[in-house]
């Protein structure tokens, strides 16, 4: 019985692995295509199956990307990268602070008008940013071509507020009540008691905000034209529009665009996966 059982289990595990491997290969194929293409001459990238073969590898495409983006007129690659990083970091850090405070105020404090305001926040969650981009652009005309205009609209985020709200709602109240007895006010309780117990939701919001901020495309295309303040994804669009299209170089650019995020993801993936999932499940 037990030997039979073990055999059956091994077979099941084998089957499990087989399906997973096929799925992983399919999921990874486009990423592999990007990575290997970034190392190949352009003519071999778009060449049927040959696009998949690791032949003629070199870093030429990367060198070409840096060289193409190394003048005041075209802007500098590192400048775009720094802009993207700076914008994302400010939006993430500012967003964590602003939205967690609001989430806490809505979930734990009893204040006049709270429920009415919260309904408003929930309604704002479903307003697609794309649909307000045009009027917003008009309203922010004075800030055109600044880093600030690319940060400000994204710091306060209704969905983040909502994520914090649901998470805080599910935190056990007892600890906070003890803090109250110790004479800590709402602010003290929040920063000393709640924040340390809410790491997963902070991580979740940080990650989601970073990803959407890093990939911004429509908004910067509306409000920036100065290479000194433009972010990386937008420049990839400009770069892939060059004539004639050099797909090897475009892929090198794409790799450089996604690499920082990928590295961060691989380093932090444990927290990442736990937290994104954890707070969603609890929420």
């Amino acid at each position: 019985m037990s030997a039979n059982n073990r055999a059956r289990r091994t077979a099941a595990a084998f089957q499990n692995y087989a399906v997973l491997i096929v799925a992983a290969l399919l999921m990874f194929a486009p990423i592999y295509y990007l990575l290997i293409g970034s190392l190949k001459p352009s003519s071999e990238v778009l060449n049927g199956f040959a696009g998949f073969l690791p032949t003629d590898l070199s870093l030429d495409n990367y060198v070409a990307v840096f060289r193409a983006l190394s003048s005041d007129a075209s802007g500098y690659f590192w400048q775009f990268m720094a802009n993207s990083l700076l914008i994302s970091i400010v939006v993430v850090v500012g967003g964590l602070l602003v939205n967690s405070l609001a989430g806490y105020a809505f979930s734990r404090l009893e204040w006049v008008g709270r429920d009415k305001v919260f309904i408003l926040i929930i309604l704002l969650v479903i307003v697609p940013f794309e649909s307000v981009a045009i009027p917003l652009m008009a309203l922010m005309q004075g800030q055109r071509d600044t880093l600030l205009v690319q940060m400000l609209p994204f710091i306060a985020n209704a969905f983040s507020v909502f994520l914090f709200y649901t998470f805080f709602l599910n935190l056990p109240k007892s600890v906070e009540e003890a803090a109250h007895l110790d004479g800590l006010g709402a602010w003290g309780t929040f920063f000393r008691i709640v924040v340390p117990n809410a790491k997963p939701v902070f991580a979740t919001v940080a990650i989601l905000t970073f990803l959407s901020s890093w990939g911004q495309y429509l908004w910067p295309s509306l409000v920036t034209s100065d290479p000194a303040v433009r972010p990386l994804p937008l420049e990839m669009g400009v770069f892939s529009d060059r004539e004639p299209a050099d797909w090897g170089q475009v892929f090198a650019f794409g790799t450089l665009l996604v690499l920082p995020v990928l590295v961060v993801f691989l380093i932090f993936q444990r927290y990442f996966v736990q937290s994104v999932a954890g707070s969603a499940v609890k929420g």
């Binding site: 105020a105 940013f129 985020n157 996604v258 990928l262």
Partner: protein
């Protein structure tokens, strides 16, 4: 990835708790929520109200002429003008098809992957990493990679694969250009990018189900399917609802990939245009600020309606 939105508000949380208002709480509450509320009003509410106002005007983006009050003309045209309504309703239809395909397929795939990863075997984290990786790819990049994969000539990766698999029997197909496969192609690359996200959420929900329930079921000689049906699904019910709602709303916000594929990769415009694409096109290509605003407002109303309907259905089921 666009910032995800959710309306998965457990109904219990919306029922107004008996408030015990305290002066200090009010002061702190207002101060703590003020930065977010001010930001949301300035950068979402005010522009959105501006859009509602603009949608009632015949107004061009460059304001060359004085805006003229038009009442509901833009809305009436969107739904009844023989030509405009064609484009507009087709965009709406594309959004609906996108949602109707992506919700079951992407959630189903995510669930299958999550179940496979939930076995206590070595290397599961490794696989999870692979499935999640596309989530960190910006859509602008996803569109560029996939336009080469879907390239219509023999040199496209997909066409080359099909040709090898079928021994050259099937000729190269124009995946993005043909009206039959264009939307399917956009759906495919969107699922590729998004499935890992749902998978991770579902996986966490699976791991919350106590192992004892499965052990008890095995003692009752329940087979794998029965376990899945009677333990797994009920165990992750709330998460499934959350994921479904999330995907629905994201399906109505599809924009980046569609814009890039139509503008630079010859994707079939009629078959792939979405409401947001049609709205931004009205402003970019035709300066028509009034119409673009009207489309935004309609999109908002549609999302609200769908959310309410879904909430209603789900509540009914949970009560029934």
């Amino acid at each position: 990835m666009a910032s995800p939105v959710s309306t998965a508000i457990p109904s219990s949380q919306l029922t107004v708790r008996k408030p015990r208002f305290r002066w200090r709480d009010t002061r702190d509450g207002v101060l703590m929520s003020a930065p977010a509320i001010i930001g949301l009003i300035a950068f979402v509410a005010v522009p959105f109200i501006t859009a509602i106002v603009l949608s009632l005007y015949n107004v061009q983006a460059d304001m060359a002429r004085e805006p003229r009050f038009w009442g509901f003309t833009h809305y009436i045209r969107l739904f009844t003008d023989p030509i405009l309504s064609g484009t507009f309703l087709r965009s709406l239809l594309n959004n609906l098809v996108f949602a109707l395909v992506v919700i079951p397929v992407q959630t189903g795939l995510a669930l299958v992957l999550a179940v496979l990863l939930n076995r206590k075997l070595r290397g599961m984290k490794f696989f999870r990493t692979f499935f999640f990786m596309p989530v960190v790819f910006p859509m602008a990049l996803v569109a560029v990679i996939w336009r080469l994969i879907l390239e219509r000539g023999d040199d496209g990766l997909l066409n080359a694969s099909v040709s090898v698999i079928t021994g050259g029997l099937v000729p190269a197909h124009d995946w993005l250009g043909s009206s039959a496969t264009a939307l399917g192609s956009v759906i495919l690359l969107s699922i590729w990018q998004g499935v890992g996200f749902q998978m991770v959420i579902l996986l966490a929900a699976l791991q919350e189900i106590p192992e004892e329930r499965y052990e008890a079921a095995r003692l009752d000689r329940a087979n794998g399917w029965q376990q899945f049906r009677h333990i797994t699904i009920p165990g992750i019910r709330n998460t499934l609802i959350f994921v479904t709602l999330l995907t629905t709303i994201l399906a109505f916000r599809v924009y980046d990939q569609v814009y890039i594929l139509i503008r630079t990769a010859g994707a079939n415009e009629e078959a792939t245009q979405t409401l947001l694409y049609t709205g931004t096109k009205a402003i970019f290509s035709e300066n028509n600020l009034g119409r673009a605003s009207a489309i935004s407002v309609v999109l908002f109303v549609i999302i609200v309606i769908i959310t309410l309907v879904q909430r209603g259905l789900l509540r009914q089921r949970s009560e029934g």
